[in-house]
């Protein structure tokens, strides 16, 4: 047992740190550190910079052009990116669909789709949830009917994150109504420029359009865009879920945001208020405990042991903490968290500032983070899963 990273791991961290410092655009880091609005360009530029270095695919195995890093190296990379203020990697391409294409796609599909994902050129979206299918995802109804060498797709997806920027979308579609709902689902890649695809942004409680509805009206999709076998899509999607690893806890970002919380609390004069300070102290312990939990999972992965039964806890805990630090930041802002001026969330805004600059985005971040305990399998569904492992 040893808490410290090995000298090799520390050297790796320094290498990543130096590179990130030298290559992350400062303007982007400023926005991330201050929770200001990020544009599509902010996100994609960083993806392309990483892509050029070969690190957008940091979790990919060597045979597909990834660096072949182990679990600890991936964690260190994520941590250095988060602490430096890098935008989060938009996961739909490199983290979510790529592993499915690698595992279940044919060689032609791999050659066709993986390079655009690896370079950050092609923006991918996820088409899973539907208006009637949230936690009960397997009840999804979007139909794909095989006609000759095409599928005709009809239906509606929703909560498609950043889908307004999407060029391709990977969808779970119904290809059969026989048997259990899970057995009639297929995994289809769809060009979002196809006729019949309509994207409508959904304005959320923070005033931003982070998610979208996506309609499919007789959309023709070449049959060669089917991943694996027809009606096996549910299995592939579960494989994808298994690839959502420790990153889901987002503990590195929590460490960065805890620092920001302290800065804001100091500036607003509540850091020395014992009642407020103790709430920060509780969060600090939560962050350390979550980091230890993550490190335990990483240690198990690194030594090739079977995945611990604690991995399921990471999403619950991580999401609760994201909500808590945004809540405490908003409370630290106090009355100056009330003004809700959309323009003030733009970097470099020159208008009349109400309160301190750091107050402008606090309420918006708090509102936005309500999603974390809902998406990716609601925390109530996660508790069902944890309970299953404990109670049988």
């Amino acid at each position: 047992m040893d808490l410290a990273f090995t000298p090799e791991e520390e050297a790796f961290r320094q290498e990543v740190r130096a590179w990130v410092r030298a290559n992350l655009p400062q303007e982007t880091a400023h926005k991330v550190h201050n929770a200001l609005r990020q544009t599509r360009e902010d996100m994609q530029n960083w993806a392309k910079i990483l892509g050029k270095k070969g690190w957008l695919t940091y979790a990919w195995p060597k045979q597909f052009g990834g660096p072949g890093w182990n679990a600890v190296q991936k964690h260190l990379f994520e941590e250095e990116c988060a602490l430096a203020g890098a935008p989060r990697i938009v996961p739909f391409g490199p983290v979510m669909v790529a592993p499915v294409i690698m595992a279940f796609g044919n060689a032609e599909q791999q050659q066709r789709f993986l390079p655009g994902i690896a370079s950050g050129e092609v923006w991918w979206s996820q088409g899973y949830s539907e208006p009637g299918s949230g936690s009960d995802l397997a009840s999804l109804k979007t139909r794909a009917e095989r006609v000759g060498n095409k599928y005709i797709v009809n239906g509606q997806k929703t909560w498609t994150t950043l889908g307004q920027f999407g060029e391709w979308i990977f969808c779970l579609v119904r290809t059969s109504n026989e048997g259990k709902p899970q057995t009639g689902i297929s995994f289809l890649l769809i060009d979002m420029k196809s006729p019949g695809v309509t994207v409508r942004p959904i304005k959320l409680l923070d005033g931003e359009c982070e998610v979208n509805e996506v309609w499919f009206d007789n959309v023709e999709v070449p049959a060669e865009n089917l991943i694996g076998e027809e009606n096996k899509g549910w299995t592939y999607a579960k494989h994808l879920l298994a690839h959502e690893r420790t990153n889901i806890a987002d503990v590195n970002r929590a460490k960065r945001e805890l620092e920001r919380l302290k800065r804001i609390a100091k500036a607003e004069g509540v850091y020395d208020d014992v009642r407020f300070r103790d709430e920060i102290a509780k969060l600090e312990v939560d962050v350390v405990a979550l980091e230890m939990l993550v490190l335990r999972v990483l240690s198990a992965e690194k030594s090739g042991k079977q995945s611990l039964d604690i991995a399921g806890l990471l999403k619950i805990r991580g999401s609760e903490m994201q909500q808590r630090y945004t809540e405490l930041m908003m409370l630290a802002g106090g009355p100056y968290s009330l003004p809700f001026i959309q323009e003030a969330m733009e970097a470099g805004w020159q208008g009349d500032q109400i309160g301190a600059l750091h107050c402008a985005p606090l309420a918006g971040s708090y509102f936005n983070m309500r999603k974390t305990t809902i998406y990716g399998g609601s925390n109530e569904v996660q508790r069902n899963i944890v309970a299953q492992t404990v109670l049988g």
Binding site: D278, L295, R296, K302, S303, L391
Partner: protein, 371 residues
């Protein structure tokens, strides 16, 4: 960064688990509580396993092991809610080995390691609560030795111990002394504590004492941190078993014609208990792996760990009773004893609010496992 146990550590765990399972069942424990909350016989059995000498170097008659071994042992003792205070042997062993002069080491280390001497920390004072710097016990130099006067509270197995490690003020500065229970001027008054183990009030009236170290504050903080790390590990064992007992019960007990483990509101409670258990286990690892860190880092780490463990213990204990229903509040059924153990541990070596205050006052700009 590696959280795997070595083969030797796993063997140590197996040996202790075997003793707990075979040698320390609930009936024996119940009988020990009925006879005062401490069994010299059981303590000797721990010594025969080598556990009382865990932190004493081999040259001084112990096993010379470290915090991870201590953690492994305490987890297993926790599973059996063992009453005999092995934590005190770990503290005494470390204090004597790190801080005492050769004469005192010669006289006591082998006896502590062998279990012939039970030496316990007698630090609590009426006005101190959890503040380690508050001490009204006074030491006076007398010839080549010292005498101590003052009073200490809730000393583990205090009226049955062979000697005490006592913080006292010498020339206004905190120092640690060793006082034998049979010495003149020493009186004790024993009683049961809430978990069924034994405590005692200790009065010192000019009692002869041997100086253990003049670095009293440093040593007492160290002793407390050894206690916290051991307690965290023990708590993990207690919580682990508490959850297992609760799960067994829920999968057996039927109401409305079905096992109660089929009800979602109860299942979610179990998921929350598992969360608290694993956060606690994570912080127990953290505490033990920080036990040899520089003082400030070590102290901060122990407060973080004890705060988490305190919250975990309270939640797991209270929910275990609740999920058992009526049987959970009986003395006859085992789970209430686990609950009481958890309750007492939350209030030992500084309670949860105390350690929240410590974390709060020690906060820096950055924080994490390595900061």
């Amino acid at each position: 960064m590696d959280f795997n146990f070595s083969d030797d550590q796993e063997q140590l765990r197996d040996a202790v688990r075997k003793w707990v399972d075979k040698g320390y069942d609930f009936e024996r424990r119940r009988s020990i509580v009925a006879h005062g909350g401490f069994s010299r016989e059981a303590y000797t059995e721990l010594a025969e396993l080598g556990l009382t000498g865990l932190y004493i170097p081999e040259a001084l008659g112990g096993l010379g092991m470290g915090p991870v071994e201590g953690m492994v042992v305490m987890e297993e003792l926790g599973r059996g809610i063992v009453l005999e205070p092995l934590t005190q042997a770990l503290i005494a062993g470390a204090m004597l080995s790190y801080y005492a002069g050769p004469d005192l080491q010669e006289a006591w280390c082998a006896k502590v390691a062998g279990g012939e001497a039970l030496v316990v920390l007698a630090a609590q004072e009426r006005k101190a609560r959890y503040d380690l710097s508050v001490c009204n016990t006074v030491a006076q130099k007398q010839g080549n030795g010292w005498t101590l006067s003052g009073a200490k509270s809730v000393v583990p197995a205090g009226d049955l111990a062979d000697a005490f490690i006592v913080p006292a003020k010498a020339d206004g500065k905190l120092a640690l002394f060793l006082v034998e229970r049979t010495a003149s001027g020493v009186t004790t008054h024993g009683y049961l504590t809430q978990d069924g183990s034994r405590g005692a009030e200790l009065k010192l009236s000019g009692a002869p004492a041997a100086l253990l170290t003049l670095k009293g504050q440093e040593a007492l903080e160290h002793a407390t941190d050894i206690g916290i790390a051991a307690l965290c590990a023990e708590a993990v064992g207690v919580m682990d078993k508490t959850l297992a007992i609760t799960v067994d019960y829920m999968n057996t007990r039927k109401q409305f014609g079905v096992v109660i483990s089929s009800f979602q509101s109860l299942r979610h409670r179990v998921a929350d208990m598992k969360m608290q258990l694993e956060l606690g286990r994570s912080m127990s690892y953290y505490a033990s792996l920080k036990l040899n860190a520089p003082t400030d880092e070590r102290r901060a780490a122990m407060s973080r760990a004890k705060f988490q463990i305190g919250n975990s213990m309270r939640f797991v204990g209270q929910q275990a009773v609740q999920l058992h229903g009526g049987i959970g509040v009986t003395d006859e059924y085992i789970v209430s004893h686990y609950f009481k153990k958890l309750t007492q541990m939350e209030m030992s070596f500084g309670d949860t609010l105390h350690h929240l205050g410590e974390v709060s006052s020690r906060m820096q700009d950055t924080a994490g496992v390595f900061a």
